[in-house]
């Protein structure tokens, strides 16, 4: 009995991987809530996400001149855009739920360690 276990364990692969350098074998379920993506072209700047966020990490920042010029026709009234600070986000997914245009989504992209805070801002 012990011998069988011993031989089995000799050829077993380790249960862990060298995350984040290695992500093969990690299982990211469909519903996993991780890194956000915002499609600023369809965002209408309604601030619903910022008001609903329980961790208060979405800031509505004014658009720059350049961005104002580049806005497409449909969102002419957009003046502000959401910027999310992922360092304090609790990944609850409420922002995704309340967004009326479905432009804010949480992907199952989990691997996001970074040494710089700016890299963890989505907007």
């Amino acid at each position: 009995m012990l011998i069988v276990e011993l031989i089995k364990n000799l050829f077993r692969k380790p249960e862990t991987v060298r995350y984040p350098y290695e992500t093969k074998g990690l299982n990211f379920p469909e519903r996993l809530r991780a890194m956000h993506v915002i499609d600023q072209d369809s965002c209408i700047g309604c601030s619903k996400c910022a008001r609903a966020c329980p961790a208060f990490v979405i800031q509505m920042v004014p658009l720059t001149e350049e961005e104002l010029a580049k806005r497409n026709e449909k969102i002419k009234r957009k003046r502000v855009k959401p910027v999310i600070d992922l360092t304090a986000c609790i990944f609850c997914g409420v922002c995704e739920e309340v967004c009326p245009t479905d432009c804010l989504n949480l992907t199952n992209q989990l691997v996001m360690p970074s040494g710089r805070k700016e890299e963890l801002e989505v907007g």
Partner: protein, 393 residues
């Protein structure tokens, strides 16, 4: 304190702790003669914070009261607000709440069992149990999207639905998990190490249990036959068929056996939920300001969890009061320490209350000689492991 006695503190500070407590222990040689608990080190002001945010946001705050029984706090708060708002939660949502609650009980009891095995130096069993626990964590992640702090509830129902694919995964994994659970039960029943270190240790009699108002598995292991799921059914527990194991021995070993039995009951509940779950809506929309107050109690993995909320024509709670089960159980573990060895302290503390890491820093003060000595968790664990080796010889 007389000349032969020494006093020392266990805890409180450790950055990774959920609920650090200080235990001030007076020993005579190696034997504990008196112990007291000093609470309040992780006061985070959650109840006050809740007053400054609306009920939807407080839901996520309540979830973060405890990382292990996050669902219990989350669901309990949602249930209390639903009482005030007078909404009827759809049946399917209640089934889903029971499903997650029982998965949480599985992972919490397995975590605890691993921790206890680690405390007595039985690390093989600890890794075995924690590896099996991953199956449950994966199921929770598949259903809700997170391993902990699932964000499952919303006021008026739940956020994530069960589809056929997830249902199949659940059935398969639970089927796969059953033989492993049987293996765990066999180890617990037959392991000489576990029996030697826990049998008769940290006994809490029925009288003491009543006097110190313990709840949950701690109470049931001391012969108090009380489980909210059966005695004051909430969600849809009254439609399910399950047993409430009890024991009257009150020692650490009986707590292990009791929790393993509860694991089997949870599996039974999960299977029934998967069979019986009706189709339909998963939430009822709730909006607006409320007035009124409500109390909700549910059986968390560690015992009775209590939430009181009051609204005064507002969206923000006027008052939120929470009592977590550990708060009720900690007094009994202090009483249980008396008469035991220093090496038994981690085992007894861990038996009642998984926040064992409070044993991280121990300061031994020999007042008469003016000496003091800091005992770290490592030292304390080493002492515990050595004791295991000694009794096994």
């Amino acid at each position: 304190m007389n000349e032969e006695q020494t006093s020392f503190n266990i805890g409180p500070q450790h950055p990774a702790l959920k609920e650090p407590e200080t235990f001030r222990v007076i020993v005579e040689g190696e034997r504990v003669v008196k112990a007291e608990a000093i609470l309040g080190h992780t006061h985070r002001g959650i109840e006050k914070m809740a007053e400054s945010r609306d009920y939807n946001k407080t839901l996520y705050l309540a979830e973060r009261i405890c990382g292990i029984c996050s669902f219990a706090h989350n669901a309990n708060f949602a249930r209390a607000v639903e009482f005030v708002a007078d909404v009827k939660v759809p049946k399917r949502a209640e089934f889903l709440r029971v499903l997650v609650a029982e998965l949480e009980r599985l992972h919490s009891h397995l975590l605890w069992l691993g921790v206890l095995a680690h405390e007595i130096g039985f690390d093989t069993f600890y890794i075995l149990v924690w590896n099996d626990r991953e199956t449950i964590m994966d199921l929770l992640e598949t259903l809700t999207g997170n391993r902990v702090n699932y964000g499952m509830n919303r006021i008026g129902g739940v956020r994530f639905d069960l589809n056929d694919e997830i249902k199949k995964i659940m059935r398969d994994k639970i089927e796969e998990f059953k033989p492993r659970l049987e293996k765990i039960r066999d180890v617990v029943l037959n392991s000489k190490t576990i029996i030697a270190r826990t049998n008769g240790v940290g006994r809490i009699s029925k009288d003491l249990a009543r006097k110190t108002c313990v709840t949950g598995p701690t109470a049931r292991s001391s012969g108090i036959d009380w489980d909210l799921r059966r005695d004051e059914p909430y969600f849809i527990y009254e439609q399910l068929d399950f047993n409430v194991p009890i024991s009257d021995r009150g020692d650490v070993y009986s707590k292990i056996i009791l929790r393993v039995k509860e694991l089997f009951e949870s599996i039974k509940i999960i299977e029934q939920v998967l069979d019986l779950i009706p189709s339909g809506k998963i939430f009822q929309d709730v909006r607006g300001r409320f007035e009124g107050k409500a109390v909700s109690r549910i059986e968390a993995p560690r015992g009775e969890n209590f939430h009181y909320v009051e609204f005064r024509k507002s969206k923000n709670p006027y008052r939120l009061k929470v009592r977590a089960p550990t708060y009720a159980n900690v007094v009994s573990s202090v009483e249980a320490l008396v008469g035991h060895h220093i090496a038994d302290i981690p085992v007894i503390v861990a038996a009642n209350d998984p926040c064992f890491s409070c044993t991280d820093r121990t300061l031994i003060i020999d007042r008469d000689k003016g000496r003091y000595q800091i005992m770290s968790a490592r030292d304390l664990r080493k002492l515990s492991v050595e004791t295991t080796k000694e009794v096994m010889q």
